[in-house]
């Protein structure tokens, strides 16, 4: 790590912060339009962050460094940290009047598209602050796609890199030039958001609600403009639009581009998509049957609620359509376990993701055979492609690290006085970027507001860890990273 590398990373982050500051003008204008005092908060935040960012950007100008692995790790960490810190400023000074810990928690939850919130009274909150929350998730979601498609494969982290290799021949390198590819990612993401918003509006949402929820749906984010989340909307069509777009947002983005631009259905020949749809469907059917058999909810109503809840949790979106804490013990345990599943690599979802489950099951299946025939050659396959040793290794390590961090997180949050269900489900939901936890405090009807500030810092760090796929953050702990 040399000074030039650090300076360049700060430079990149400052430029990003400058753009983010200009975007604060949008909720500012909305508040001005609705005649809300908060427009001053957004204007002054924009001026302050924009000014500091410009100064820092100029001060750190230098010849660009070689884009090494280390530089990329540094930039990614610094970008999300800057994003969260800058995004917290309007929360801190707005009329909602919350603590620094609350503001930072809410900003991290936005920037990482997690959707855990410390705020209540959303229904009567100024529109600017609500829009700002949704925008954070939308920008964060876009960042996650870029991270998954372009950066993590380069860093050789996670199952994504393997499926990138697998897909490279199948998707025929859809775009010859990187910039065309990058622009189409942004374009399709925006177009899908508009389509989702139109359908929400068609199903009866107000224009403002439709735009906000479309942004947080496509980001697998889960922030709502109502305390009751999707339980506020009574039209089943609204719920089914959400279900469809939560699933779309959980598919690999490259596949969405091919589908949208070339009407090619390659996604459905992708193993990870089939596995993701498979476990989502299985859990949805299981849950709706259980709700019916146990006489918890009548089947017609229960079916929509069960599918919505499973899709919302598995895709790590985190919208609530009902207080599932009151269903029964089985459904609560099922939802807890669904929290770690996740969608596809290269999507906006968090969690462990279908790719890693495929690798885990492949390894277990193959290894059981190896125990029986010790001299058999160990090849783990997904479809027709054999999974490289490095990918198997990193994937296995991910499981060990994920659950170890969940354990440490649980102990740390419990240390602040939270009960065991809050601490454990809080740690899991943070690492998976789902949003709500379980129990009375952070469950579907609660918020993270009542937690101690210390718990909020711990969980905010957990959300960043989870969003950057653990190792992107953990490498910073390695002395080798800082060596010259």
């Amino acid at each position: 790590m040399n000074a030039n590398m650090l300076r360049s990373a700060v430079h990149v982050s400052a430029i990003f912060a400058f753009y983010l500051a200009t975007m604060m003008l949008i909720p500012g204008l909305v508040d001005l339009y609705y005649d809300n005092e908060d427009w001053k908060v957004f204007a002054s935040s924009a001026a302050m962050i924009g000014g500091i960012a410009a100064l820092v950007a100029v001060a750190t100008r230098s010849s660009p460094p070689v884009v090494s692995t280390r530089f990329t790790f540094l930039v990614v960490n610094l970008l999300w940290l800057t994003f969260s810190a800058a995004a917290a400023v309007p929360f801190m000074f707005a009329t909602i009047d919350i603590s620094i810990a609350d503001a930072f928690f809410e900003a991290v939850s936005g920037a990482t598209a997690s959707g855990s919130t410390v705020l209540t009274g959303l229904d009567t909150m100024p529109p600017g602050i609500l829009l700002w929350r949704s925008m954070l998730q939308w920008i964060g979601g876009l960042g996650v796609i870029v991270l998954g498609l372009f950066i993590l494969p380069f860093l050789k982290i996670g199952g994504a890199s393997f499926f990138k290799i697998e897909s490279s021949d199948r998707y025929d390198r859809p775009f010859a030039r990187f910039s065309t590819y990058a622009y189409s990612v942004v374009g399709i993401y925006a177009a899908l958001t508009l389509l989702c918003a139109s359908l929400y509006a068609w199903s009866g949402m107000s224009g403002f609600d439709a735009i906000n929820h479309a942004m947080t749906t496509m980001a697998s984010g889960g922030f709502s403009t109502h305390d009751r989340s999707f339980a506020f909307f009574t039209n089943p069509w609204t719920h089914w639009v959400a279900i469809v777009f939560m699933i779309i947002a959980a598919l690999p983005f490259t596949a969405l581009i091919l589908l949208a631009l070339r009407a090619r259905f390659d996604a459905f020949r992708d193993n990870q998509v089939l596995v993701f749809l498979g476990y989502t469907l299985f859990l949805a059917i299981l849950l709706s049957m259980q709700l019916d058999i146990s006489d918890t909810i009548e089947f017609r109503e229960g079916f929509t609620k069960a599918v919505f809840t499973v899709v919302s949790i598995v895709t790590t979106t985190g919208y609530a359509v009902d207080n599932y804490m009151e269903w029964n013990t089985f459904t609560v345990a099922l939802i807890l376990m669904a929290t770690v599943l996740g969608g596809c690599a290269g999507s906006t979802t968090g969690g462990i993701k279908a790719t890693r489950w495929i690798v885990l099951f492949g390894i277990i299946k193959r290894s059981l055979e190896t125990f029986i025939y010790p001299h058999a050659i160990r090849t783990v396959r997904s479809g027709s492609v054999s999974i490289p040793d490095q990918t198997q290794y990193v994937t296995m390590m991910y499981f060990g690290t994920f659950f170890m961090l969940a354990g440490i997180g649980t102990v740390l949050v419990a240390m602040t006085g939270a009960d065991l269900v809050t601490a454990f489900s809080g740690a899991l939901t943070a690492l998976s970027n789902v949003g709500p936890g379980l129990g009375d405090v952070i469950g579907p009807t609660g918020t993270f507001g009542p937690l101690e500030d210390s718990a909020k810092w711990i969980l905010a760090f957990g959300m960043l860890l989870g969003r950057l796929e653990l190792f992107t953050v953990l490498v910073l702990l390695s002395p080798a990273f800082w060596r010259d």
Copy 2:
């Protein structure tokens, strides 16, 4: 899998069942001595099991098969299943009058040295049945040592095989002949049990209590002769004797042999021993400080209770010295996480074990460096020895499988109507063979009795899975295992 292999495995299990039947005469004689009607139950159980076992053994006599990996897997599974089923018979017919699910659960908990119990009123229970429970754990514990030292390394399962390799040059192959080695294992195990019993008696336990608790201490079993477990004994010396012998029982047995027979302290140059003692000491200090700072228990009393509780959980013994559910949320979360730690490979402890934690941390440390320097050569070391790829691979897989099974177990137990804390801590305590769970039902002051029968079958299977280090059982699910 051919018929001869299956027949031979049944033959071995029948011979074991015959020996177990003769051992039923011991609690029978004790009941006869104390003039308790249960002696008839033990006598008739012994006759029945012994008779059936002898018949089956004769019927399955054949030329011994080649000792293949597959045959070994089959025998190990069948042995523990036979052990549990035969051991359940006296429970079923004794005056305590419990269901088949209860009897099988209690027997599995004995045979796997887990220590979860469905029984209350231990203090006034006939001595025969109490002794039978302790004997099951003692025999089970011996089985676990034999499994860990001689069988799992051959099957290449778990971190143990690596540490076996590591230790082979350091311990200088202590015994030239296998049978000498095997006899000294039994001898030292019995001698340590007698020493432990003497010290318990010296500290004020009755002779009967001392013998029972010494057997379940050395087995890391945790069955007690009192509902209140070690909270029944008020002399701190009793608690410290337990602490010392729980730690001894968690050390690699080869090291104990060298210590006992040759006064060699090689164990303390073994990485896994240092790591095990390290995290035990760390958690004990952390817990006792927290109990003091939070004004939960006064320091002198709290120190003994904290050390006892940490040692009891980490070594997967499971004795309770206090109702730690009433301490505070941090201590409860800490105990939950300590549940999966475990002792050393080649000991009677369950859980994930120090060896696997060493491998996990080594892999994470090395991989973080590999992310930064992609072309560096990846060697994971423990001390001066590099850990073979195969061991790294199997260890990583163990973590993924362990937590996946814990998740599935939680959902299944919750499905029977148990609350989330009971379901999750129940699944973890079963897979780790610790014994007690958390909460009001299965916590330190409760029993597994109030659970549904279905939950008892699930958790009994979990105890067997955990005790046989998961893969020994899971290989049976592989079609390759049953192929001809």
